[in-house]
């Protein structure tokens, strides 16, 4: 159960759900705020429960009362003067005149009222809130005043206030709830992102491989775009409801999109920090590091690891440039002291002399090394040719003896029936050995590039026809149907006819040996786009449970029994000879279909 939960924690679906949940929650919050903004509800009501403690009260009701009451004593005319005393009791006096709406005409009423505004030290102050100071005008010392709101008025206002609170508070709790939930999900995602199980390796996807600075730029552009759309979509406060609704839809959508991108950006950021690739995987870093590394490689020897002579050359060059620069500088400085300015050019002459001399020495050494390596190569080449020739001779000589003596033995009289049988087997096998050795050396020579070629302009169509005619007896005997498709005109290529005949002979020989009796064999020649393509297709008589590379391996035989005649080198020789003739050898096995394609460049006639 526990492990099940854990593996579930790292499941992809779960992560995606969490991710979308965050985006949806945050979008909802934004929309809720927008809704609050659009409704005329004072947001203060969220925090302040009593209306008379609110700024709303102080800024609106209290301020208006204070202004009117204060103005009334200083004889200032106000358009609102007729509303004086609405919902509150007041008393103001400058020692001579008393203005009040209280019946008894004294300020005694205010002594018992705790929520009184009164003038103290030239300011209106509020008994309930000691930090409240307000004066609409300069108030002379002799003026004393009181304002207290009536209970009825306050109760009314408080009810209204409670109405706001009832509407706003659930939204606020909801916002905090979703915010807290989103935060938890975000922490969860931060922990599990990039891992498929607890101890798992960090998986970086293609997004995490985009250089961070590029990604940041893209993100910034998206964010700017979203901000532009949103700022244009906010309607003014008194717009129609329908306009507000459209605006909310637009803002909601854009916010959601923005949040998705932000989330992806945040998660790749987290992954990069986890994988410690944040700094390294930036174009700026790579660029700076590349430049730095190049300069470092010049001096720590890496650049010249294999080329000591180039290293010498490089340092000499650097020294020369630095010193020359210095000399030029000195020349300018010494211009102030006329006789001395001749020295730097003189020194430069010596500098050039030693520079050229040193370089020549290095170049000579390089030339020598180059020549030596060419000689080495030639020697190795000669050795290879010698090896092939010598081994060939060393194998053929004893084989000649074997064949000759087996022949003599077969002519011997008085041999038992058994002995005659053995001699026949020996003759057979030595003949086969002869073929293998001969094929082996053909192959060795052609693969080592030591084959003698007689390249001439030949007609490959004619060659295919000649080869087919040459083998016509075997073909007729074979129980196979040969289907040839050749072009009506000559197809000229440059190749060694004898070698190419060998290629076709080997391939047709293979076909005759391994094609399923009664099936068709296709021999085709196509000419297209400057290429002559010979295709040979046949159906195999046995299951080809090997691939193209395996069959091309030397000594691989179609049948595992290895009992039939042949050296097992036929295909290798065909391939190698095709290559020495400048052609391309392509072999395909598709189920029972065996297909060989030879491609040559045609000659322009």
């Amino acid at each position: 159960m526990d492990t099940k939960l854990k593996s579930f924690k790292y499941a992809m679906t779960f992560k995606v759900i969490a991710f979308l949940l965050i985006a949806i929650s945050l979008t909802t919050i934004v929309l809720e705020f927008q809704y609050l903004l659009f409704s005329d509800i004072p947001l203060e009501s969220i925090l302040v429960s009593r209306y008379k403690d609110s700024n709303e009260f102080l800024q609106n009701d209290a301020r208006r009362a204070i202004i009117l009451v204060t103005d009334s004593i200083s004889d200032k005319q106000s358009s609102l003067a007729n509303t004086l005393g609405e919902g509150y009791y007041y008393y103001i006096s400058n020692g001579e005149t008393v203005i009040t709406n209280l019946a008894d005409g004294t300020a005694d009423f205010f002594q018992s009222n705790k929520d009184t505004f009164l003038i103290k030290e030239g300011y209106w102050q509020y008994q309930n809130n000691t930090s409240y100071y307000y004066r609409p005008d300069y108030i002379p010392d002799n003026v004393s005043g009181y304002i207290a709101f009536s209970n009825d008025y306050l109760v009314n206002k408080q009810n209204e206030w409670n109405g706001y609170r009832n509407e706003v508070l659930p939204i606020v709790y909801g916002v905090f709830g979703t915010l807290a939930g989103s935060l938890l999900l975000l922490i969860y995602l931060t922990v599990v992102v990039g891992k498929s199980h607890r101890q798992g390796e960090l998986h970086l996807n293609w997004l995490d491989r985009i250089p961070f600075d590029v990604l940041s730029l893209i993100y910034l552009m998206i964010a700017t775009g979203c901000a532009l759309v949103i700022s244009n979509a906010i309607p003014y406060q008194y717009a129609y409801v329908s306009l507000k609704l459209t605006s909310m839809i637009i803002i909601g959508t854009v916010t959601f999109i923005f949040l998705i991108f932000s989330g992806i950006f945040y998660l790749t950021l987290v992954k990069r920090i986890k994988g410690k690739t944040l700094g390294k995987n930036t174009i700026v870093f790579k660029l700076l590091f590349g430049i730095f590394d190049y300069f470092r490689s010049l001096f720590d020897g890496r650049q010249f690891k294999a080329n000591k002579l180039t290293e010498q050359l490089f340092y000499r060059q650097m020294l020369f440039i630095t010193l020359s620069f210095l000399m030029v500088l000195l020349t300018f400085i010494f211009l102030l002291v006329p006789p001395l300015f001749l020295f730097p050019p003189l020194a430069e002459v010596f500098l050039i002399y030693f520079y050229v001399k040193g370089n020549r020495k290095t170049f000579t050494a390089i030339d020598r090394g180059f020549n030596e390596s060419i000689e080495d190569q030639m020697r190795a080449e000669r050795l290879k040719i010698q090896l092939v020739t010598n081994v060939s001779h060393d194998l053929k000589t004893p084989l000649t003896s074997i064949i000759s003596y087996v022949d003599l033995l077969s002519k011997e009289e008085g041999l038992s029936e058994n002995a005659m049988d053995y001699v026949r087997i020996l003759a057979d096998k030595s003949e086969r050995l002869k073929n293998i050795v001969s094929d082996l050396f053909d192959l060795a020579k052609s693969t080592s590039g030591n084959i003698q070629l007689q390249m001439e302009t030949i007609d490959i169509k004619r060659l295919v026809e000649q080869t087919l005619a040459d083998m016509s007896d075997e073909i007729e005997r074979s129980n196979l149907q040969f289907k040839t498709k050749l072009p009506g005109h000559a197809v000229m290529i440059n190749a060694d006819g004898q070698k190419l005949y060998r290629v076709l002979q080997n391939l047709l020989g293979n076909t005759l040996k391994y094609a399923l009796a009664g099936t068709r064999v296709f021999v085709e020649l196509d000419e297209m786009e400057g290429k002559a393509i010979v295709t040979l297709k046949n159906t195999s008589s046995y299951e080809m449970n090997f691939n193209e590379a395996e069959i091309m391996q030397r000594f691989t035989r179609g049948d595992d029994s290895r009992s039939t005649e042949g050296s097992g080198l036929g295909l290798s020789i065909a391939e190698s000879f095709t290559h020495v003739c400048g052609g391309d050898f392509n072999l395909q096995i598709d189920g029972d279909l065996f297909k060989v394609k030879l491609t040559f460049n045609t000659l322009e006639v």
């Binding site: 000589t397 084989l399 000649t400 000759s404 003599l408 050396f441 004619r462 016509s472 190419l500």
Partner: protein, 233 residues
């Protein structure tokens, strides 16, 4: 009847012995030499009708030996070598050898070639003396145009009319390559149809009749991708 002396030169004594044994079975008298110098000594002292010569030998190699022999004598020389490249064969033949066999050789083929060379050397004599207009001669091939008969080493060969016509065309143009269409036009006197196949099949038949080893023809050659020709000897 044949008591011809044949000199076998090979630095490998086993091979030399095997060849001499093969020859003596056929009724020839073999002489053995293990390098070129020994071979030259024997030629000076003995009457030899044919030489079988290895190429890679100590002291004096086969090619130099051939040149030395050709300075004085006209005996048929068959080179027997492990070198199988076409260029090796051409070099050997141009040095004055009459035939070239690669090791490992097949004993019956060797014997056949020996017989062919001896017949030509002993019974046909000097080719030049017989150069009449009606007779085409190339190496051991002789085509009598009058009697319409082909001889190989003096032996008459049975050829069909078309085969003879092909041989006539090729032998009167020794060394020249003919395409199948050309041969078809000249021999069949018709517009070429399926020429390649027809001509090739005929060529193969002829080859089986006149060549000792049809798989490695000496005279009638296919120039792959071009045509057919008779090698000049």
């Amino acid at each position: 009847m044949s008591q011809e002396n044949i000199l076998v030169v090979d630095d490998d004594p086993e091979i030399a012995r095997a060849i001499s044994k093969l020859l003596s079975i056929e009724g020839y008298t073999p002489y053995l030499a293990y390098n070129g110098l020994e071979a030259l000594d024997i030629i000076m002292t003995e009457e030899v009708q044919l030489i079988i010569l290895d190429v890679m030998m100590p002291k004096l190699d086969g090619l130099s030996t051939t040149m030395k022999i050709r300075e004085k004598k006209n005996i048929p020389i068959i080179i027997l070598s492990a070198k199988s490249e076409e260029s090796d064969k051409i070099l050997g033949l141009s040095m004055g050898a009459d035939d070239y066999i690669t090791k490992p050789f097949s004993p019956p083929e060797l014997i056949a070639r020996v017989k062919s060379q001896l017949r030509r050397y002993l019974t046909l004599g000097d080719a030049n003396s017989m150069s009449l207009e009606q007779i085409l001669i190339n190496g051991s091939l002789k085509l009598d145009l009058e009697g319409m008969q082909l001889y190989v080493d003096g032996e008459p060969i049975k050829l069909t009319a078309k085969e003879l016509k092909i041989m006539e065309l090729l032998m009167s143009n020794v060394g020249i390559v003919f395409s199948a269409e050309k041969i078809y036009e000249r021999v069949w006197n018709e517009k070429p149809y399926a020429a390649e196949n027809t001509v090739m099949v005929h060529i193969r038949r002829i080859r089986e009749k006149i060549e000792i080893n049809p798989k490695d023809p000496k005279y009638l050659k296919v120039v792959w991708g071009i045509g057919y020709k008779i090698e000049k000897f």
